[in-house]
Symmetry: D4
Subunit: 252 residues, 8 copies
């Protein structure tokens, strides 16, 4: 970055780049305005990740519009989260979409080839947590990670979890997804020797308070190596897990 | 009770009991007023339990006063909870007191001989939960129960808990005590085939919110057979555990 | 359990059981995976209770699938909770279902014959609490308990409750169900000499905060022997009450 | 009031009162400024009650200053609430003070002679609620009411309360004071046929959340005729009870 | 009550009342069970008020059933709260119903003739609070009180309230109803010299948190003589106001 | 005001104004009652702002009624907030309405000509915050302010905000609107040298808790010059911004 | 800013500024690092305000260190908030300090000469709110504003506030400071025609919940032109009020 | 693990390991009980991390006892968190301790040599967050990581953060620590292309609610790659950051 700046300034000095061009670059016009959203065209390069569209609260038409703007600017793969089946059908009529119904998530283009340091294990406490898990799984796969699904291994039947001990020991990153008491994160965290991303879900009723119980529980995990994302935030967990799985030496 | 009432009324009819006496009895003067407390003299018979004095917010002198009133009315054993070491010293100077410093609990007289159907296992997530556990343990022992202590078996080191699996399978009642994420109750609940009384503790910091996190977690336990008492309420758990351990057929 | 382990290892030593078989057994493959749920086939033996299916968030088809898997593995009786009338109709078309509309609960097979130490009394504060009470009642009956229903005995008309004093004195376990201020648990707890399981309900409005008021009230009960389950958790209370009613000496 | 206004305007018209005087009166300069407080000299007449000083956060010197200003303006009786023993000692050295240590409340001058329609019964759930009860009692007595104290009649021992049924039936107003689950208000409310003022107290621990549990419980009381004041607000309850006990026909 | 008991016992003594009869009476069978509700037939006498049916969560058929049971037991006037227009139509087809659409409240029979010590003023902060106000107004009128409605006098336009100062000074009881910041109760409380019953409403959005803001505000009112009922509890306020308006000397 | 009072009193003295007239004026009958609302006719003069109708919870017919009353009293411009498209259509059939669909806001008459000291910049964190922003924008424009819209400049892409640094430096007032973590207010507050009005929105899910997260975040802003209005309160922000933009010297 | 950038780049082009210098400038090294704080030397120019030191959690020595760094960089006037009397004494020994004990605030150097458009009125509900008010007052005075103090004008005695109506009408900005129910902001907001900054205080007890009640109340104010700062944030209110009082046309 | 099990069973089969020994091993007696804590001797191997002692609530003597047990079992390096200066002095007298006063953290033995993939950047919003930051820093250094400290770069002075853009771009993991509005995490998350661990701190007052505001803010971060640990949990963040910095391919 530093070197970019120096190089740009040197180009200005040498007259290779005009002052106006440089000013423009330095102000970083890195997005295109399409009215209802500032589409961020440079994020892929900057964050090492393809563009993601958050579908909630957007119409199918707006989603298509954003996707096309991204594609016409060279973005080949676009992930769309929180998109209902209905919207997905409309979007699929306009662009080629691969859609995961359970996770309410889809993408245009291709998943990157699986890479990184190893496998991401996604564990859920119950079957009701699966939508969040699928959102995480597709997000991770889209960004080039191998995902192992380990669903319905809640702590009230600890033997189910124990039976998959090796899987847990082998993971590079684990995503632990649970509602209600959210204890899965602590138990998995205690068994594993890798980072555990805990995702509280809004599954439950009464004193589950829409995920608050699981959230607090996970934040208070007595196991080391556990961190937490927002309630039901499968995308966030999947993205972060992929980031960790691709951590690498930087040259500087 | 029904028969008592019928018998009393028949005595009235026969003139054996005066109207005034009967009125008095029917109004149930079952306590003695010593100014700052209505000491309940009949509870032992009624609830099958000896009298308990809640020490918090009472001076050592008031505690001694209540204990003596109870004793002069025939109560031989009195349990005193939430009594600091200082107060205990003052109380001990006036009456013969057995005191458990960790649990801040003591008693005058004797524990009832251990009985009931089996053993009460008291498990804690960490060492900081021990004061609550000791309050529960002494309460249960005082009321005639055998107690097995199983401390520091939190879920982040699930193998520690697993190593005591048989103990857990053998229990008649289990008290699971934990702060922070309170996951112990769910894991123990899933392993055991007996009632589990969960006690959230105020151990932890930040998002533990003085026990709220553990409380919510335990209320949302996905294991069957788990119920919850107030934060740090070791006495309540010990008392209830003893009650369950002494459940018996009633003649009617 | 200990002896099982020793016996298994001795079989291995004697060559009666192959290493692979033993490894398999030790890893405890005690469940069958049917895709959307790990059906737990051994729980009846392990927990002394028949299998329960939590119907919320499952389609009628999924419920039927789980029930059939359980039945084909020898489970004769299956309880299904939180199942709407609509789903129940679909399930009933596939398997023989007994359904309780008020409690939104049903079962396949038979209730176990009533047994245990005595009767479970289920009291509610008002008529709006009856759905939760019926969930508790059917759960307890399914697991072989005699249930006495005592509905609409809220504390604002304390004479109604007083009129049933003997019932309360006769119970082995009491389930006290109330919304709004949740005071029923404390009053019943003070009258009874047996364990009281308090169930806060989401009945009420305004400062009832969806059951929070009753929940806090019950957790703070000044009566001994009271513990609490989640808001509206009739099943949990019924199951635990049955467990307590069947508490027994263990041989070891 | 209306007539006052008309009369004043007529005096202006007749030239009996100058424009400036009238303007002053109409702007209502009904208080005297002593720097740290606008002492309200006309409240006794306006509200039918003597002046009250809220002692919390005021120094003993400030209290004395306010009391003297009030007295030099003709106020004979002054009530001072939330005044610690220490401050009371300093105040007592300067003015003649009657002080109630338990209620942390005192007054200069005399209580008005007991009057009104009947008796105010003040009931508490436990002995720890007595400080709040005494604050209420002295406040009511100061304002000319007969008070009956009925302490330690919590609902977990419902027979204690039942034994005083007649007292409750005889009251003109009842103040029900309780911490923890706050159920006393509902039970008393159901027994009584007069207004019940509920005072939640901060007595309790854990899920009592400094009085929140009792507060919510009381707000949700299913008994009619119950209203609630702030946590630990004995003064507010005593003042309101006196107001109700002195309700009377107005001439207009 | 005391005398009743004495008299009953003396009748037993004289053989005028059989033991069984007396036992029955003493157990107080003062209600009739109609399956889904214990209809309380004696409350009118006991509480000086006609019976009230809480319509929420009851079907029109259940309401009709309860009303008829009450009427066939001699209850002439029945108030029904929280009853939607639809239900009201069904109920009106079965019994003669007077219905107030805004307040979602109706009654069978007649309002008692207005009596008591004076007028009840019902003030609201805005027009959105009127439904709660009408519930209060009809409740008070049903129980024999004169009601003065003073709507839309919120504190942000303090001159509107000031213009009705005399009305406020003339009231025997005031009901102050407001959502959002709930400041009306404090301002009215400061202006009035009679009891003020504050009703927080769920009117507002965002940080109004469904009435929590107004509730807390009203509980913290710095004006004396203010007490609070549950959010949106117009009935409770109207009933209590009527009770205060009818406070009277008791003979004992 | 003072002079008005003096002048009125002097008119009374001189007999130019009758006592009754003066009494009426002094009681300030400054509004007209149309049944369901006290329409405030003098507010425009008093607050330097045209009348605003809060449409939420009012029927289209009520809105039309209020608008007409205002107009027949000389109010030319009326702003109507929180009005759904459906209601707007009905209102538009009765009076000439300009309607902004996104902001759910409309007005009858004209916006005042843009004036004041400078420009109001309205910035949003995301596209989902635009409805709140439009409510603010139309409100400010209606009251005679120039508005610059700067949407979708959330802090996770800080370069987008940086690219508009000059706009921010040039503003007279800034409205920063954001949901989720609400960080926009702090960042903008740190960059700007003018007052920043922060509007938390209910955009987000899970731990956003309907805007609570953004609200708390904004209240805790470490930047100076930031204040906060209610969640989603675009009107309040727009109105206040206009007030600040028109702040001026007062003659007295 | 834009022009600065263009000019800098042109200087680079012309070789007048070296690439390194330009890089440095573009990275904006506008502060000096003194170890425990990045002292911001350019803020006065940038924000039109002198530097402020937040004293809480800093030792007197650290405060002196920061003050001296600022002064040696040309800052003549420094405001220090949240500084206890003890710390102030130590600071005063090292630098010349003017200290306001009630507001726990002091400054080195001079207050700017009073200027701006008019007066800032600071009103408090009670005497306990004065410390917050003084923090606001000194902050505003330090930044060159005339402040009018109007203390103890809470809404429960609305006539006190009414008596100062003209003051309120004359203000350019009003700061309304109140704890408990926080109603002052709404009433003042309704009376005034200028921006009102509401400051909730932690004054109160019980359901005041450390200022939460006042905070919510103020956020829900039904008066227009009211915005809110953090609980007890006198500094923030004073600073913002000064900013508004100095709002001016910008040249661009 | 699988292979271990197979090997062990084969040893049993071959008679090389006795049944009892095998049973013992299979029950996993991997810890030593020293009374007040189950010291976990195998964790270093299992989790790739040295043992950590949580000092809060432990006496200096207990800390020394645990440290010695660990050391006598071959653990050379022990980290002790949440240890006050006083305790540290006592511990230092018994074992050789390196202590960081600001972070209240110390260790016996050595930090592992810095390794992993790159640098961990620890950024704080203010100077008051430094204690949490130092806890994180020492934890990370102890586990063999290079740490770069970047303190006092809060978002209200965004240029300070911008000036260190390269540092942020160069990091392998970033720990963003902030109280109050906690916006730092989002801004850093948007700038960085590596995992960001957010640590809310209890710094702030009023509506900061002991860290709740920052916690919610961080959970709602709109930047990707951000996850959150408990309030003030510097250790957890430092440990997890080290784990991510050492993520590596697993052989299986």
């Amino acid at each position: 970055m530093e070197t970019d700046l120096i190089m740009l300034l040197e180009s200005v000095k040498r007259g290779e780049v005009s002052v106006d061009e440089a000013a423009l670059k330095l102000k970083g016009k890195a997005f295109e305005d399409i009215g209802y959203a500032k589409v961020d065209l440079h994020r892929e390069k900057m964050q090492g990740a393809s563009e993601v569209v958050y579908g909630e609260g957007k119409t199918a038409e707006q989603i298509v519009g954003i996707v096309r703007t991204l594609m016409s600017n060279g973005q080949k793969n676009v992930l769309i989260t929180r998109m209902s089946e209905d919207k997905a059908a409309t979007v699929a009529a306009a662009v080629e979409l691969k859609y995961n119904k359970e996770g309410r998530i889809g993408y245009v283009g291709e998943c990157r080839a699986p890479g990184g340091l190893g496998k991401i294990v996604i564990a859920t406490g119950g079957t009701s947590d699966i939508p969040v898990a699928e959102e995480a799984a597709v997000t991770a796969e889209f960004h080039g990670n191998e995902v192992v699904r380990l669903y319905d291994v809640g702590v009230a039947g600890i033997h189910r979890l124990m039976a998959h001990r090796e899987l847990i020991m082998d993971a590079t990153v684990i995503i632990a997804i649970a509602g209600m008491e959210g204890a899965l994160a602590s138990v998995v965290g205690g068994m594993a020797d890798c980072p555990v991303i805990a995702v509280p879900t809004s599954v439950g009723y009464g004193a589950a308070f829409e995920g608050l119980s699981a959230l607090l529980s996970m934040l208070n995990s007595c196991a080391s190596g556990v961190s937490v994302v927002n309630i039901d935030n499968g995308f966030g967990a999947g993205y972060l897990a992929g980031m960790i799985n691709h951590v690498h030496k930087k040259d500087n």
